[in-house]
């Protein structure tokens, strides 16, 4: 019995380990490459060959010096946009998702089908008319222009709706008996048990915002207003030491989103039966 368990443990852990190594490989190789001249990677591709004596921090010095620290401006822009987008997105999508899951009302299924419709339409189709619309609001080259068209994320609504469907309705009933208003029930009773969903959605929305490229590329015109992905992508021209900053900049750009992930990881994979109705 224990021998069988040991065998299973070794087998399961090695399967997972193989996938984990593949997952980390790009990060590892780009990290290694960031200590060498970018031109070398362009010429030879990435290789299983490490010449540690040639490594230096020259690429990282460019973060502060290149074009008066333009990289750090991109960094700040990305952080501000992410905070607004994630905060508003969590609030609105949990509100709507909860409403759709926990109330029976006329038009519920229609609204839900509309949510699915929004989810399946690629943003890229709407980019031109959205650009005209944001332009008429005088929001080109502003944070608001980047955030507004995605302020009520349909994927978030879908996720919260699926999540809330599985939550016990007894909590709402007992809240009503205790004299809570419908909004009181949502904010005081339901939100706390929805924490695992908030944890997951924070990570997913933050990722989407931090790495989104196509829409910000169109709204943000001046280099000072741009976000990290657009800024980094603009370095993909074979002039000067662009590739050097690209490598160190790409490595550095992962840090904030990594922190958000590590902070939220525990809440969202934590046991969620705790605190809700038992039996």
């Amino acid at each position: 019995m224990t021998k069988k368990n040991l065998l299973l443990t070794i087998l399961a852990t090695s399967v997972i380990a193989v996938f984990a190594i593949i997952a980390l490989m790009p990060f590892f190789f780009l990290f290694i490459s960031s200590f060498k001249a970018g031109s070398e990677m362009i010429r030879n591709g990435l290789q299983f060959k490490f010449d540690f004596q040639n490594y230096n921090l020259a690429n990282y010095a460019l973060i502060k010096t290149e074009r008066d620290g333009i990289y750090l401006k991109w960094y700040l822009n990305s952080i501000i946009i992410m905070i607004i987008q994630v905060g508003a997105g969590l609030f609105f999508s949990s509100l709507v998702g909860y409403g759709l899951a926990k109330y029976k009302f006329r038009g519920r299924n229609i609204i839900f089908i509309l949510v699915l419709m929004v989810m399946m339409v690629p943003v890229e189709i709407l980019i031109l008319p959205l650009y005209k619309e944001i332009n008429s609001f005088k929001m080109i080259d502003t944070y608001a222009g980047v955030v507004l068209p995605f302020i009520v994320p349909a994927t978030g609504i879908f996720f919260f709706r699926q999540f809330c469907s599985g939550l016990p309705t007894e909590i709402m009933e007992s809240g009503r008996i205790d004299g809570c208003s419908e909004f009181g029930i949502f904010f005081k009773l339901m939100m706390p048990i929805m924490l695992p969903a908030y944890g997951a959605m924070t990570i997913l929305l933050a990722m989407g915002s931090w790495n989104s490229m196509v829409w910000p590329m169109i709204v943000l015109r001046t280099s000072e207003m741009q976000t990290l992905p657009i800024g980094l992508q603009s370095l993909l021209t074979p002039y000067g030491n662009n590739y050097d900053l690209l490598l160190s900049g790409a490595v550095m750009s992962v840090i904030p989103i990594m922190i958000i992930f590590l902070l939220n990881q525990k809440t969202f994979i934590a046991g969620m039966s705790a605190g809700s109705v038992k039996g």
Binding site: T9, L46, L114, P122, L126, G179, C180, E182, V214
Partner: protein
């Protein structure tokens, strides 16, 4: 408000409560409805109108009927549609079952230090597509000593010019996509697995169910809404794939259009050539295609949950 109704006795609690219960869902869902009208209905209508017009650059549009749709059917567009459809098919084939299997493994007691592996598997999703595109371009470089060529060289397969041929290009893109989204789907499944009461498994074990039976009769039905969700986002993600191909080639156009997707077609027509009419016609065609798939999927999987009530 709630306190007041409390003082007025049980009858008014009931009527007041019921009134609130009827109004509340509309207030809860109002943000979406407003958003939907402003940032969905309006732009879609605008796109539809543009698709019927001859418009180049920002010149005033001229009504042109279905001319744009006729111009649409060329080899480049057909190639893009084929590419997107195959890409979506293969990514769904991998990205729906594989992460469920890995999530179940991670959730079992057989994996040592599962927290570390969960983080590791999720890291690709955190990495920006610019960074990942850089990696895949130079890992799949045609250089004989480059990563992928030395791996296949180990098995005696000759070095490939990965991004020069259509089949290998799409292998790279599918690997790229699986690499990027595997961890996200694992997280969806993991958080669904947490909601399954553990005593269900214990009862099943006592009744003599083996691991496979517990998986098919408890795990799968319990995470069914999540499976549907993962399938849904994989289909939509597949058809709207663009950034991956864009960063891999650093352009919306590729040599011989081997890396063309429907969205890169729209982008190239709209933003590189300023053919807004044709770009909009392609957009509306994509919309129609995805709608059809969606209706088929809705009728099979029933995510609205009519049958559950």
């Amino acid at each position: 408000m709630s306190k007041q109704t409390n003082d007025n006795g049980s009858a008014s609690v009931k009527t007041g409560g019921i009134k609130m219960m009827k109004v509340a869902p509309y207030i809860f869902t109002a943000p979406f409805v407003i958003y939907f009208l402003a940032f969905f209905v309006y732009p879609i209508t605008e796109t539809f109108w543009t698709s019927l017009c001859q418009q180049v650059g920002f010149a005033p549009p001229k009504y042109a009927g279905l001319a744009n749709y006729k111009l649409l059917i060329d080899d480049y567009f057909v190639m893009a549609v084929q590419n997107s459809a195959l890409y979506t098919f293969f990514t769904c084939l991998i990205l729906v079952p594989l992460p469920l299997f890995l999530a179940v493994l991670l959730d079992s007691k057989y994996v040592v230090k599962p927290e570390i592996f969960k983080s590791a598997l999720f890291i690709p999703a955190l990495t920006s597509v610019v960074m990942a595109g850089l990696f895949f371009r130079y890992a799949f470089s045609s250089n004989e000593a480059a990563l992928m060529n030395s791996v296949i060289g180990f098995f005696g397969i000759p070095a490939q010019g990965w991004l020069e041929k259509r089949v290998t290009t799409w292998i790279v893109l599918i690997v790229f996509c699986v690499w990027k989204w595997l961890g996200v789907n694992i997280v969806y499944y993991l958080s669904a697995l947490q909601t399954i009461p553990k005593d269900l498994y214990e009862a099943a074990t006592i009744d003599g169910a083996n691991a496979w039976q517990r998986f098919t009769f408890i795990t799968v039905p319990c995470v069914k809404p999540t499976i549907i969700y993962v399938l849904t986002i994989s289909i939509y993600g597949g058809f709207s794939m663009f950034a991956e191909a864009f960063t891999l080639f650093n352009s919306a156009r590729t040599p011989g259009d081997i890396g063309a997707t429907i969205v890169s077609y729209i982008y190239a027509q709209g933003f590189n050539r300023n053919n807004f009419g044709i770009a909009s016609a392609a957009g509306i065609s994509l919309l129609a295609g995805v709608l059809i798939i969606n209706i088929i999927q809705l009728s099979i999987t029933d995510p609205v949950g009519k049958n559950d009530e």
